[in-house]
Amino acid sequence: MNTPLINQLPLHWTIEQILALAPDPNTAKRGQGLANTKKWLSLESNGRAVWGKCKSSGSAHYETAIDLKGPAFKCNCPSRKFPCKHALGLLLISSSVTDDFRITDDLPEDIQTWLQKRDAKASPKNKEKTEEDIQKSNERKAKNFDKRMHLMQSGIKDLNLWIQDMIRIGLASINSSSENISTSKVNYKTESNSELWRNISMRMVDAKLSGLGRKIREMALIQDSGSQWPSQMLEELSNLFLITKGFDKIEQLPSNLQKEILSLVGVNTPKDDLLEQKGIEDIWKVVGQFEHLNIDNAVVRRTWFLGEQTQKYALILEYDYNNFGFPFHWPIGRIFKGEMIYYPSLIPLRAIIRNHEITENIIQEIEGYTDISTFLQHYKNQINQNPWIIDYPIALSEVYPIYQQKQFFIVDQQEHALPLLHKENNGWKIMALSGGQKIDIFGEWTGEKINPLGIVAQNRFIAL
């Protein structure tokens, strides 16, 4: 093993926080098995990153590196788990047996390139552009956007007619297998119910309206969702209809509303454009995280941040399409420094973070509404501004969880109650943490129920 040169690496992660990064319990278990210096041929660090060579079963070895700034991981092992057991093992060693790392500025070439790429990605583009470059680029963007607008307008028109046709022939007939739904311009010949949805969804994708295409594919599942499906279906169709109406007169709308509608139909602001803007610097608490599978079988991760000084919420939305894992880990309950850049919206929530750095602190309280009716008034104002809000952040302080008639509620001191979304054992977990005492809770308000994501009880933050 190399000569010990350092006593402390700049990493303040506990074992449980490191193991929480594991994609599954088995990888965590194997990672612990590799948290043994005897399994490593070399362990090195330059303070910013750690890297090492891990013995493998054959004559080869795996080269693993961690950018401690993220943390972000790199390993040449064949595992599709991310982070892999080698990365976890290395991180565990770096958090405990720190004397075994050799400090050097002589980074292997591939690690240096990797770190440089990461830095370049994180910092705003500083390449000097001439006025001519900017003008050309803007002209090109405008031209492309005009072309896309033309396609989208035609798609929106078809969708508007299709929705109205659905109401004309009746939602009950969606189930009939050989119904022909024709509009004045488009004829959607449907051989089966699934084709009915697929055809219109594909039409939307062709018209560069991918957001609407995905929404329609999700709507196809409503019919199997139980006896309430007609009201849910009509509600979703009416939401789509509202979007088509908004899109029809988009040029007359205020800029933020235009961007909201464009974002709903699938026109997203490119990350590079966002990174050119200035964001909000703050200390950001990771107050909740929620993962689910979307209609395309991608894992969608919603991570909620709360700015300590600004008291602003920010949502980082990430997608994992091939089960490769997410590039960053946002340990819930931890606090980051960073600059949050919001996507343009009527109510800016979705954001990306720049130059983030984890701090040693953990959440000990969530400041929220102590009065549910005040939150609902605030929510009403938000809905009036943006009727398409789906899940809105809610934080309530000094409230009680209650189980009554097979339903969990959160009750404030004015005895106003909001129901909790029933998810696995979460309701009982909250009850257990409360023990009948007041708690603080953070979650997503769906408009009907709270999806609880984190609570603070007796100064302990617990992710749900």
Binding site: K29, Q32, N36, D165, P419, E448
Partner: protein, 512 residues
């Protein structure tokens, strides 16, 4: 008319078959919709308006909070550390699931309690896992009990109320009452049972006797003696088993006296003593009353041999020590040399199991291990003894077995079976012997021709039965250059990482 329901109704039927009523239209106009809209547009716009209203005017429900109960009394124990909580989640999530009993043991030993957030998962599992509940209830604290009271589905975990009404209580309640009284006031419980005995059903009688077995004492003997004359065979048989377990019971002594007449030591010219065995010719009524079945033939050698076997089965092995003034190993040797060796040794296995005698358990398992190669003893079944073995006997037998093992453990050898099935904790000497044995085999050429599946099972067992603080020692000397190393690396890594996990788990539970 419900405005929203009517919109849904028309949307379901379709506007080509149903029309919007004037009443609904008027309401929609009043909401600001244009009169130029088609029916479809009216329905969609109306629903959109309704959907927004539903979100922005959420009907607030009131729930009184003055009746909320809380786990008021403070827990005297501290919640275990955050690292221990993480360990616990790894166990519950399935990464080290077999470590749960050990976690709970050390949690209690170090005066810590479980974090509240884990309680729902564990209580849920306890509903169907009684063993888990036995360990869990010592560690859930005031908060846990409070939580159980909140969820009616968990109420069955609470101690059941013991009814006072012995005669009129339900069958299940009466079993609880009897068990409770038998523990608190044994003689009173027996009197209660005797009073109602004749009115009980057969099933209920057997259940009462099973409870009696848990708290068996000399005072139950007179009652059990009367049951030898019961008209139901199941009751008589159970009573015999119980009486045989009572030390110096009349039944034991009667059987012992009969056996003494049938089995004696024959003085021989050679140094080794021999047993002289006579099979019982006649079966008298009192023998049948004492549980000897005249027709049963479950040992080799016919009904007469079976009768002798049944008697040996009931007799406490300790009485053989007194009778021959020899220890278990010497007596086993004598029985083995006798002409009815197979029958008597199998009967001794049954008797040792019934009377839970550790000296005899050790002698019989050791005998089986030593004689595994001999065809005569291959059918001797000692699996019952292996299941009930205690830690000391297990380790003694297994260490001796491993020391006498040359080369590999055979897949079907008793020592392999013992290591695979017993839940006993391994002493350090045994752990070292087993792991060294595997390491030597992995390093040898012969390992290339054999898959060693049973060693993989033993490794899995050892991961939870070895002392975890041997981790560093057991990590050394693995033949990583072996040609078959890659096919074993995963199992060995898992074994070592489980030991490491347990070591850290215990270490963190000990820390304040």
């Amino acid at each position: 008319m419900n405005f929203q329901k009517e919109l849904i109704r028309i949307a379901l039927i379709g506007t080509q078959k149903a029309e919007l009523s004037q009443e609904i239209k008027q309401q929609l106009y009043a909401m600001g919709l244009s009169k130029n809209l088609s029916d479809e547009e009216m329905i969609l716009s109306g629903m959109s308006f309704f959907s927004k209203m539903k979100k922005s005017h959420f009907p607030l429900q009131k729930i009184p909070i003055n009746y909320i109960s809380s786990a008021t009394s403070k827990n005297t124990k501290k919640v275990c550390s955050s690292t221990s909580i993480k360990h616990l989640y790894m166990i519950v999530d399935g990464a080290f699931e077999n470590a749960l009993p050990e976690f709970l043991y050390h949690l209690g030993k170090n005066q810590k309690r479980l974090p509240p957030e884990i309680l729902p998962d564990l209580l849920e599992q306890s509903i169907t896992n009684n063993e888990l509940w036995k360990q869990l209830k010592k560690n859930i604290g005031v908060r846990g009990i409070w939580l159980i009271h909140q969820n009616p589905d968990w109420h069955q975990l609470l101690p059941q109320q013991i009814s006072e009404d012995w005669e009129d209580a339900s069958n299940d309640s009466r079993l609880l009452i009897f068990a409770h009284h038998r523990k608190e006031n044994p003689s009173q419980a027996l009197e209660m049972l005797q009073e109602t005995w004749n009115t009980e059903s057969l099933n209920q009688k057997i259940k009462f006797l099973k409870i009696l077995e848990k708290h068996l004492d000399k005072d139950a003997e007179p009652f059990l003696e009367t049951l030898l004359d019961d008209r139901r065979k199941e009751v008589r048989r159970t009573a015999v088993q119980l009486l045989a377990q009572i030390e110096s019971s009349a039944l034991s002594l009667r059987i012992f006296e009969r056996i003494k007449k049938l089995i004696t030591i024959k003085k021989s010219s050679s140094k080794k003593e021999k047993l002289q065995i006579q099979l019982p010719d006649k079966l008298e009524d009192d023998m049948i009353r004492d549980g000897i079945d005249p027709r049963i033939q479950w040992f080799k050698g016919g009904v007469k041999a079976s009768r002798l076997g049944q008697m040996v089965t009931l007799l406490s092995p300790q009485l053989w020590n007194q009778y021959f003034e020899k220890n278990a190993v010497e007596i086993v040797e004598m029985f083995v040399r006798s002409e009815w060796g197979e029958l008597l040794i199998q009967a001794l296995v049954e008797a040792t199991f019934l009377h839970q005698n550790h000296e005899w358990t050790q002698a019989l398992i050791s005998f089986k291990i030593e004689s595994q190669e001999r065809k005569r003893w291959q059918s001797l079944n000692i699996s019952k003894l292996m299941e009930n073995i205690n830690d000391d006997v297990f380790n003694h037998v297994a260490i001796q077995g491993m020391k006498n093992t040359k080369g590999l453990l055979e897949e079907n050898s008793p020592i392999t079976l013992l290591l695979k099935t017993s839940a006993c904790l391994w002493q350090d000497e045994l752990s070292t012997l087993v792991i060294k044995n595997l390491q030597e085999w992995l390093a040898s050429e012969s390992s290339r021709y054999w898959n060693g599946w049973h060693y993989r099972t033993i490794l899995k067992k050892a991961a939870y039965t070895c002392n975890p603080f041997l981790h560093d020692q057991l990590t050394a000397d693995w033949p990583e250059e072996s040609k078959i190393w890659s096919s074993w690396e995963r199992e060995i890594e898992e074994f070592l990482s489980t030991l490491y996990f347990r070591k850290k788990m215990i270490h963190h539970l000990k820390k304040s």
